[in-house]
């Protein structure tokens, strides 16, 4: 049995269907080909699958695809605009905030959610917030630095983009 999943992802409308047991992360990756969202644990521990659903940060391995019916989803593929990196992405590149890159989309989405709520977070707030995500490679220092830099880049960016 399949159920309809009509949703918008990164501003594009899709009319799809899915088995009730299909996880949102698998739907995004396999059905829509959005392979930037990764699976590191499939049980909500690592955050590699983080996406935004209706403005909230969600681990897409903990959500069924059918639950996203009617929702607006943003994945890592939706951050860059008109071929230009989003300031958070630019800050991650500039700070070498990744090694293998597998956790990166999740950290970007988590950082994005953090900076929406708290535009100028302290290191402590960053570490508190990003404890939802695991990185096995970097030891987090350069990720935290990237988020700090992203905060100041975003300040500038918002002035020109709003």
């Amino acid at each position: 049995m399949k159920l309809p999943v009509n949703l918008s992802v990164n501003g594009q409308a899709y009319e799809e269907e899915a088995e009730p047991r299909t996880l949102l992360v698998h739907f995004l990756r396999e059905r829509l080909g959005l392979t930037g969202t990764h699976v590191g644990c499939v049980v909500g521990e690592c955050g590699a699958c983080s996406v935004m659903v209706d403005g909230a940060l969600v681990k897409s391995c903990l959500m069924l695809a059918v639950q996203a019916h009617g929702c607006e989803v943003t994945t890592v593929e939706g951050l860059a605009q008109r071929g230009k990196l989003h300031p958070i992405q630019e800050a991650f590149v500039h700070n070498f905030a990744m090694q293998c890159g597998f956790c990166t989309p999740g950290f970007l989405m988590a950082s994005h959610a953090l900076l929406e709520r708290t535009p100028n977070p302290t290191e402590e707030q960053i570490r508190q917030d990003l404890s939802s995500n695991l990185c096995m490679c970097t030891g987090y220092v350069q990720i935290v630095e990237a988020v700090k830099e992203a905060a100041s880049r975003l300040g500038e960016w918002r002035k020109t983009h709003t």
């Binding site: 930037g36 690592c46 890592v76 992405q89 990166t104 970097t138």
Partner: protein
């Protein structure tokens, strides 16, 4: 070569743009036409005999296309050849890709199903019936070594699968001359490096060949395993982006490559198999639990005269990596110390646990733990200062290049200075004052300063040091290639011989090429990730052994240097001048001093490319067309002792980075919780090619070692059930527990490598467990607690405190 513009600078990452846009290409991202999805049925028992297997119902389920059970594996594949880590086996034991007669650990693969969807394959797994005859499980090396224990391999007659030793100098003599013998029992637990991306394999059998896409760090292992197991010569192994490796993706992944390939052959369709997290935790490979009985013969001034170590390695339920942790200790056997007499006795004990594999540091964190814990113990027993005892024993700065008694040559270093700087950077005296104040509270402060080496550049003959009688050499020294090509349009493309797991190889290699060729890194790009059909690979082409800095850097540099010569030859001919008068800058070859107009005096890479590939009339006589060079690199200073001598001396690795680590911790005596307040590293990695990339390696490996010390690790029940199947139970540190590590670089170039570079990868995972252990012990001095065993989870620390009170 032109002067360094890019080497030494943190040039923009080449890999990062694709990762931040979600365009990394990992194995699971790929889809082939008509591809099936496979799942694996795994043993629920730690130890059991496999009886009848009934897969009839599973085969009938709609959507199921193929099922492989132990009989198929036995009939249709050959067992693995014993590799270098099984060379010590007393009797040959065939090991297949799956269990065939017995299961020896929870999670051991038993059967595979391939179906149209992963969900269908999972459904079918539940329909396979296996009659297991449960046997008693052994999970502890002491019990397993007892003659009455259940035998894991009956053929061996004992669970002690290997015993051996290496001995250097005259240990008995050293002990006879000692003022005192300091003894200790030390233990390191089972952990892993838990790469975020689990194993991933796609196999496709075409009429021409067998194609395997997989995230193997050491494609040679998969290449050979599949060739041998299935008898197919024409195998192509392609490694896309890898989501972290750290050694986990070297050995056990071959089992799954063979099973997936077998399924592809059997069904005639491409097959994808993706491991899940809990599968990786139970069967992806662990580090050994290691137990050391250590004796150090010392003089009363703290000088160490001789060392005896009895090492028991719990190697789990497989015979294929018996000595892997033992021989890796040859890399840093003497750490940074000048003692001349040492014996390391080893035994590898089989248990019903996951087989053991390398991970960040393998064996070396244990060896460093021994040294650094013992330095503290010696100081305590002799009433000396812990740092002074280290200083007394360090190899002096004037002794480099220094040859250790087991044959390693430390090319450069200044260990005293590393300690000086670490002490200064951590404000040692200030911390001692704060510590004194903390003594009245329930939050005790502790500090520890340790030192260690990071060996790099593996010698493939290393493991034969413990098998002097063996005639089968798995290789020697190292070989690795690279290709650099000036394209028709003047851009530069390069191909590396080895895969990367995120260590910035594209970025780093491009910097070297940029400086050698005289062209900006933006014009340089990698042709793709590893492909056995296209990459120039050799025995060192693995993302392991800290190989990149020695072999890949040498190969890239060599290929670029050859290409530069060729570019200059062609340009000199076209500009009618001699090579010596030419320089290259920004992709333009020009004559100095200038003789006329820019046009007469210079030629661009694009012009050269066009001519080299298209205009024979303009080429010099005897000039091979094209501008592409491949170079295979071996370490030019691989001798002496590339081949082990009769005394077991061998150059285990070829370069030796070093670092001092200083840790300040706070221990909550009520809860046992340890917080790392500061963590300082002073690191000598030789010439830094990209400092930010090197920083990342240090941060990451330090974080891993600290997390290991603080509690991450595997726990088994007495019945062989793994109790830590998730990352949460396993206790991986997050941003909250991981300290903001502070790094100072103190690079001393290596006199023997291409650019003076030394290793930078797993380094900080080696001394960090010892640093945390030392700091926790220091904090708990008021309780007289001795830290002998890792991990220092809150429960363990709480127990240490409470046991000390009784």
């Amino acid at each position: 070569m032109a002067q360094n513009t890019y080497i030494g600078a943190s040039t923009r990452s080449k890999e990062a743009p694709r990762h931040v846009t979600g365009r990394g290409r990992y194995a699971d991202d790929m889809v082939l036409p008509r591809m099936l999805h496979a799942c694996i049925l795994r043993s629920p028992y730690g130890h059991a005999r496999i009886g009848a297997v009934n897969a009839g119902e599973a085969t009938q389920l709609s959507g199921v296309v193929g099922v492989i059970i132990p009989d198929d594996v036995k009939r249709r594949s050959r067992p693995f050849k014993p590799g270098r880590y099984a060379a010590g086996l007393r009797v040959p034991i065939p090991e297949y890709a799956s269990a065939v007669d017995k299961v020896r650990y929870v999670g051991e693969p038993v059967a595979m199903v391939a179906a149209e969807t992963r969900a269908k394959a999972e459904d079918a797994l539940e329909l396979i019936e296996i009659d297991y005859e449960p046997l008693s499980a052994v999970t502890d090396t002491h019990a397993a070594a007892d003659p009455s224990a259940a035998l894991i391999y009956e053929e061996l007659g004992s669970n002690v699968a290997w015993q051996g030793q290496v001995s250097y100098g005259d240990v008995e003599q050293a002990f006879a001359g000692a003022d005192r013998v300091v003894r200790e029992n030390l233990k390191i637990h089972r952990y892993s490096s838990t790469p975020l991306e689990p194993f991933a394999i796609i196999a496709e059998h075409t009429p021409e060949r067998l194609n395997i896409w997989c995230n193997s760090q050491a494609p040679e292992v998969v290449y050979e395993a599949v060739t041998e197991a299935l008898g197919i010569d024409n195998v192509r192994v392609i490694v896309p982006d890898i989501g972290g490796g750290f050694g986990q993706k070297i050995h056990l992944i071959r089992k799954y490559a063979v099973l997936t390939a077998l399924m592809a052959v059997k069904t005639g369709r491409p097959v994808k198999w993706i491991e899940d997290r809990s599968e990786h935790m139970m069967a992806g490979g662990h580090s050994c639990d290691q137990e050391f009985d250590v004796e150090m013969a010392v003089k009363s001034d703290g000088e160490v005269l001789g060392v005896i170590i009895r090492d028991t390695d719990d190697v789990g339920g497989s015979i294929s990596t018996l000595t892997i942790h033992f021989t890796n200790k040859l890399n840093n056997l003497f750490n940074t110390y000048k003692v001349q007499h040492l014996r390391l006795e080893g035994r590898s004990v089989l248990t019903n646990k996951c087989p053991v594999v390398p991970n960040r540091g393998i064996g070396k964190p244990g060896m460093c733990f021994i040294w650094e814990r013992m330095m503290d113990r010696i100081a305590q027993e002799l009433g000396l200062d812990q740092i002074e005892v280290r200083r007394k024993n360090l190899i002096g700065a004037d002794q480099f290049p220094y040859t250790t008694p087991n044959g390693n040559i430390h090319g450069s270093g200044d260990y005293q200075e590393l300690l000086n700087r670490a002490i200064k950077n951590i404000d040692y005296d200030e911390v001692r004052k704060r510590q004194a104040q903390s003594r009245d509270t329930n939050r005790l402060i502790g500090i520890s300063v340790v030192i260690g080496v990071e060996p790099g550049g593996r010698n493939a003959a290393r493991d034969m040091a413990i098998f002097p009688e063996s005639k089968q050499m798995p290789g020697a020294g190292g070989v690795e290639g690279a290709t650099v090509k000036l394209e028709k349009n003047g851009s530069v493309a390069f191909t590396l011989g080895s895969p990367s797991c995120g260590q910035g190889h594209e970025t780093t290699a491009a910097q070297i090429i940029a400086d050698v060729l005289g062209v900006a890194p933006e014009r340089i790009s990698i042709t793709g990730t590893f492909d056995s059909a296209l990459s120039p690979w050799g025995v060192s082409s693995s993302n392991s052994g800290n190989n990149f800095h020695l072999y890949d850097v040498g190969a890239v540099h060599g290929a670029a240097t050859r290409l530069r010569e060729k570019v200059l030859t062609l340009a000199a001919h076209l500009l009618q001048t001699d090579k010596a008068s030419l320089t290259i800058e920004n992709g333009i070859v020009g004559r100095v001093p200038r003789s006329g107009s820019a046009e007469d005096d210079s030629i661009t890479f694009a012009q050269l490319g066009k001519i080299a590939y298209g205009n024979q009339a303009l080429l010099p006589d005897g000039f091979e067309p094209g501008l592409e060079q491949t170079y295979y690199h071996s370490h030019p200073h691989a001798n002496p002792l590339m081949i082990p001598d009769a005394h077991g001396r061998v150059r285990a690795q070829y370069t030796f980075s070093s670092a001092a680590h200083a840790a300040v911790v706070e221990v909550d005596t009520e809860t046992g919780r340890v917080r790392v307040l500061r963590y300082v590293i002073v690191s000598d990695n030789g010439t830094l090619i990209n400092p930010s990339v090197v920083d990342g390696q240090i941060y990451g490996s330090a974080a891993h070692g600290i997390s290991v010390a603080l509690g991450e690790g595997f726990v088994y029940g007495a019945d062989g059930q793994l109790l830590t199947l998730t990352l949460l139970d396993y206790g991986k540190s997050t941003t909250l527990e991981t300290p903001h590590v502070e790094i100072e670089h103190y690079p001393i170039p290596d006199p023997f490598t291409t650019l003076g570079q030394k290793a930078a990868g797993e380094g900080a995972a080696i001394p960090s467990p010892a640093a945390i252990a030392g700091a926790v012990e220091d904090a708990l001095t008021p309780f007289g607690v001795k830290v002998r065993h890792l991990p220092l989870s809150p429960e363990r620390v709480w127990r240490l405190i409470h046991e000390s009170k009784t």
